[in-house]
Symmetry: C2
Amino acid sequence: MKKECSTPTMKDVAKEAGVALGTVSKVVNGLPVGESYRIRVETAIQKLNYQVNSYAQGLKASKTYTVALLIPNTFDPFFASLTYYINVALMKKRYRMLLCATDYDPRLEQEYVTMAQQNKVDGIIGLTYNPDLIVDENTPFVAIDRSMGSKIPCVACDNFAGGQLAAEKLASLGCRHVAFLRNGSTLDNEPNKRKAGFETGCLSRGLTYEMKILNDGDSIEEFEYFISEHILEGHLSFDGIFCVTDRLACHVLGMLQKLGIRVPEDVQLIGFDGIRAFGNMDYLCSTIVQPVPDMAEMCVDLLLRENTMAKPPLVCLPVTFAQGGTTTEECTHTDQ
Amino acid sequence: MKKECSTPTMKDVAKEAGVALGTVSKVVNGLPVGESYRIRVETAIQKLNYQVNSYAQGLKASKTYTVALLIPNTFDPFFASLTYYINVALMKKRYRMLLCATDYDPRLEQEYVTMAQQNKVDGIIGLTYNPDLIVDENTPFVAIDRSMGSKIPCVACDNFAGGQLAAEKLASLGCRHVAFLRNGSTLDNEPNKRKAGFETGCLSRGLTYEMKILNDGDSIEEFEYFISEHILEGHLSFDGIFCVTDRLACHVLGMLQKLGIRVPEDVQLIGFDGIRAFGNMDYLCSTIVQPVPDMAEMCVDLLLRENTMAKPPLVCLPVTFAQGGTTTEECTHTDQ
DNA sequence: TATATTATATGTAACGTTTCATATATATAC
DNA sequence: GTATATATATGAAACGTTACATATAATATA
């Protein structure tokens, strides 16, 4: 009668049902209300096709059931997988997810954090690269792969153990002299522990090793020079390579093939992350697998934890090795 | 003095600056206001670290600067890329994005639509599989890859032309007898026009062809039987294959290699989508590339168009061919 | 100097909920 | 039949904004 086009409000429902505003609110929120009232309200809701306005709810309750996810992008398979599983974990708890693709841009990261806070999100999960990121004290924040002080919990896989595992795997496959290749962010983040873990593993298994670390901005072709320099009479001076990511491992695989070096016959290659072609097919390379679904669940749990129990500053989840064709099958009995 | 812990509101800023509420609002929204007032308000905002509450704004304006994206998941590279570029396009217009991963579940799709509407989003972009999806009349909706009636615009690449292009490419590479392989959803959606386009292309270039179409639930292994059945004396009876997606093409590539058939020497293989390893590296296979960034931009443009100009029911964006190693290099002069 | 005209700040109502104190109806006891 | 206790519905206030009608100050005109 009054306003035809706009969406109906609780007031409209109340009028239609001939009850008070508060009664409608109770019905909508499942609070106890007389049977006859409930029915009248429910039919009115049906008739008007009423839906609650969660912005009004959010304003009143200052609880919005929304969480922001800051992540560089969604096309990197690791980020894509994390995004998906965090979305699922949030949905399971009836939370919505605001996606914020930051493209590794510290300025954009800060902008998104500010925006998220204005949006009164109930929390932020962030895989960020801005060492000076300012997050408001009373917006819960969970970091992925980066420690941001003792107040902010960080979720990561056990990167150190992963590095160790890679070394041990190479050792048990018969490698003697190995290499570690790393590129990407040089910030002090959790994935950088892969190097320390790998060194520790090499030492404990008697492997000698060398390293090639690229800084931000260095061309990935540097790895090709590095590899070429280690070819003597058609042979590579090392017999195993551990790359800091599967992404790098795939690059390196291409370089090795171009140089006529066979994988895994001439050199064993292990990556890190557990990337599969299309998400459910074979691993792209032999790899240390991050438990992405568990990490996602853990982020959400930590973020939305109600109890005041102190949140752990770092949660490391276990990694596993997966055979992906760039290492030989393990022979358990012979020690060549 | 009063409430220490809670976030400051406009009222607090007004009190701090000694001005009226409306003046603060004007400053925040960049409306004209006396210079001395502006300075006083801005310093107060700085001092209190005030941030607008966009839930209050949303309630008042019934405009939330939020758009929901419904997509099956983010780990499929095509979806991941779409998600990223839509996020970027929205951000460019200062819109936020609510990510809704539906896992192809029609029930979940409907649930997300309802949720999005309650959330008073300004619009929904959806790549959905529920033929009966109910979307409220006054929530703008843009579909990707599926026509949902004349009222709802649909954005897609030119799938028909893509099919044609694949056929023409195979023809110009010297193929005589080709095959079309399709799996995935059998709903009436835009990508299914690839088949018709391919047939048209084959006919116009004098190629004979056969098809193998799998229905929902059929095992992908069926393609392996199909291929095996067409091997006579170690030779495949066709010399070109067009797969409905790169994903399928990669599967088929594996099958062919397993069967000892060389690609592209024995058979040329073309996929569809334009998937690259890790988003910025080589194409996984020779492919018809969808213009994902343009499609993303178009979705956002159509969704947020202010003018009342009738929205086109279907927008097809041009595709291109990309060489990805599963076809031979084109020899422009000889016609073998 | 007094008046008309403009420009700009003020403060209140409204957006659609939830909550809580109040009012009403129902049942129980005397 | 009245008084008391209990249960449940009611409606106003509040959440933090924006917009508009009103009030105030500043400027131009006579």
